[in-house]
């Protein structure tokens, strides 16, 4: 539900990837390193900056509405620091292009998307 002005284009479909605190930190570090160390295509820059934003938004989402992620953690036995980080296809593609991305994070982003 939103009171945002009608007629604005809706956001892209975002898919949740469940990441622990360490993995979110590794993801943020990899993105920051990529943005600072070498030229990145301007479109990819936008997507990668949106990923950094999402890492914060995911934590904020869990602070405001903790119940749904808590139910998933209870059902799966995941640790309390595992949160759904929601990414668009373009953001995901920009991430998977990064050589800095740790293998453990790449594995989660590459093959275990769930809704």
């Amino acid at each position: 539900m939103s009171a945002l002005p009608a007629g604005t284009s809706g956001p892209a479909v975002l898919v949740p990837y469940w990441l622990a605190a360490t993995q979110r930190s590794q993801l943020a570090t990899a993105v920051r390193q990529a943005l600072s160390r070498r030229p990145v295509h301007p479109v990819a820059v936008v997507h990668l900056e949106d990923v950094l934003t999402e890492l914060h938004v995911a934590a904020a989402r869990d602070a405001v509405w903790p119940a749904s992620a808590a139910r998933v953690r209870l059902a799966t036995g995941w640790d309390p620091d595992v949160l759904p980080v929601r990414l668009s296809a373009a953001e995901l593609a920009s991430l998977l292009d990064l050589t800095e991305l740790p293998g453990s994070v790449r594995d989660i982003l590459g093959g275990s998307a769930s809704s």
Binding site: E54, A60, R61, R86
Partner: protein
Amino acid sequence: MIDSRFGGASGLLQRLRPVRIGVDDLRDVADTVLPTLSTAALRLDLVQRPGAGSLVVLEEDERTVRTQLVELADDMTRAGVPPTPEGMAAALATWVAHRPVTDAAAMATGVAVLDWADRSETAIGWRVVVRRGGLALPWTPSRSAGAPTVHRARSSATGRAHDVPLDLRVEGPVALWSHPEVPVLATAALVAPERMLGRITAAGLSMPDMHVVVTPRRPVACAGPSIAARLAGETTEASVTVPWTHLADLPWL
């Protein structure tokens, strides 16, 4: 659904297989407990009616609540209240704490917060609540309260909302506001969004076009419009997103 009028959720087993609260046991507890909960303004009586069952009568200013003791016992059973004297006493105290808010209490101590305007949770509006310990109870003006009384109570509650201390947590581009003890009070600061913007700016965030994501009784999230949309658009939980400049236009409930 657990009945919150009798306190927090009890053990899972008690909720699945509640043990019956006996009306005679509850009467014994009420005889002892109700006098201790009475005050100069709040009168609590257990009225014995031969052949018709006992009645709990709660009177405070213009408000009167009459409840059959047997109904109270049944409600406590359904809520999973432990059938011990201590359990029943605690449940009775919580039930009394959930009594209707009087016009005088709303006038003297009411605080303005945002609450759901409808049962389907699609719209929000301002409401006066009164704090009782860890609870915040909504005020519904009595039939005898005229428009000037209602207006004064709402104005006073808005003023008091300015002074509700809230915790601010900055999560990247999102500012989160919460009350450490009474979750419903998290929206009190929204009576003065300029002051919120001041604290957000002091915390190092720039948010000229602040949008506010509100789910009553949950922390309040403030962010720019696109981030607010990303935050609220990816959850199945009900929420309303409002530009800060529109907060003052939300209706009173």
